[in-house]
Symmetry: C2
Subunit: 170 residues, 2 copies
């Protein structure tokens, strides 16, 4: 690693980072308030080569924010989250929620299972009791200062980033 500057020149259109196998990460969102937040989650999912995004309730994805992710992501629309989580468990996914909860694990110490369904709560209410009881794990992102909570799409972004850091080639 250089201790002093090199000739840094911007690279446009870097080739995608390679995966040895398709991403075994999917994202499932509770009914959300904001099409902007869902758009941000979709764009991040696209950049991570996530293949499935489950959106509950009347949630809309802002296409101007999601951009080309909408061409590669499979978006599944469902009425409510709890039945989705039951189904994912039956399908063999480890269901991992992002929330501040009793028994939650610091994301810095959590080893993401390869086959992870990452569950994101509503912006205002987070994950509800009937959703929390269906999780295998609750992962929490430390907060050091005000405003004391991450935006929901920011938390989802951090969860996806950390999963990919641990499983860089899929």
């Amino acid at each position: 690693m250089a201790e002093f500057e090199e000739d840094f020149v911007q690279v446009r259109q870097r080739a995608f980072a390679p995966l040895n196998s398709p991403r075994q990460l999917l994202v499932a969102c509770a009914p959300m308030r904001s099409a902007v937040n869902l758009g941000r989650i979709a764009r991040m999912a696209g950049c991570c080569a996530v293949e499935r995004l489950i959106v509950c309730g009347s949630g809309r994805i802002d296409p101007k924010i999601a951009r080309d992710a909408l061409g590669t992501l499979r978006i599944e629309e469902r009425r409510s989250l709890a039945p989705v989580l039951e189904r994912l468990r039956e399908e063999g996914w480890m269901v991992v929620g992002l929330e501040q909860a009793d028994h939650s694990v610091n994301i810095h110490e959590f080893a993401f299972p390869k086959r992870t369904a990452l569950v994101v709560g509503n912006e205002r209410t987070g994950l509800l009791p009937d959703e929390l009881r269906l999780l295998h794990h609750v992962v929490e992102i430390p907060v050091w200062g005000a405003p004391a909570a991450y935006n929901a799409a920011t938390a989802a972004t951090i969860g996806m980033y950390e999963y990919c850091r641990q499983h860089p080639t899929g």
Copy 2:
């Protein structure tokens, strides 16, 4: 780590994660287009207990998005980024830009110096040549799929998260 679910119960108002010393991370933004993006960067910086955010050009921060971060962050407004970077170097900061560039280092392999000035480029143009030449390091976040680039505030979020992961207690 529990293999099966426990009684997960939401915790409201978790105490802040402790720091042994003030954060030695600051964030410096190129002139940005979007008050929403600057608001997102400010909120994330607040959650990470970053103390200084430098905003260049006519950049405005959306206060509804930044929320209580505006009560703790010192916001410094400057005309352009390059003189800011020169000054930070003189003050002993390691100046680390987020960009896809020749000689950039994968963020997964980058050890953030404790005293880091994290530099975020414009949404459309990224970091310009006269800014890149003032960086000590360029850090790049891998992208596995479309739309092939992270939103600028998303990249800043990931940079701050990764710094804090490496320096959890300051």
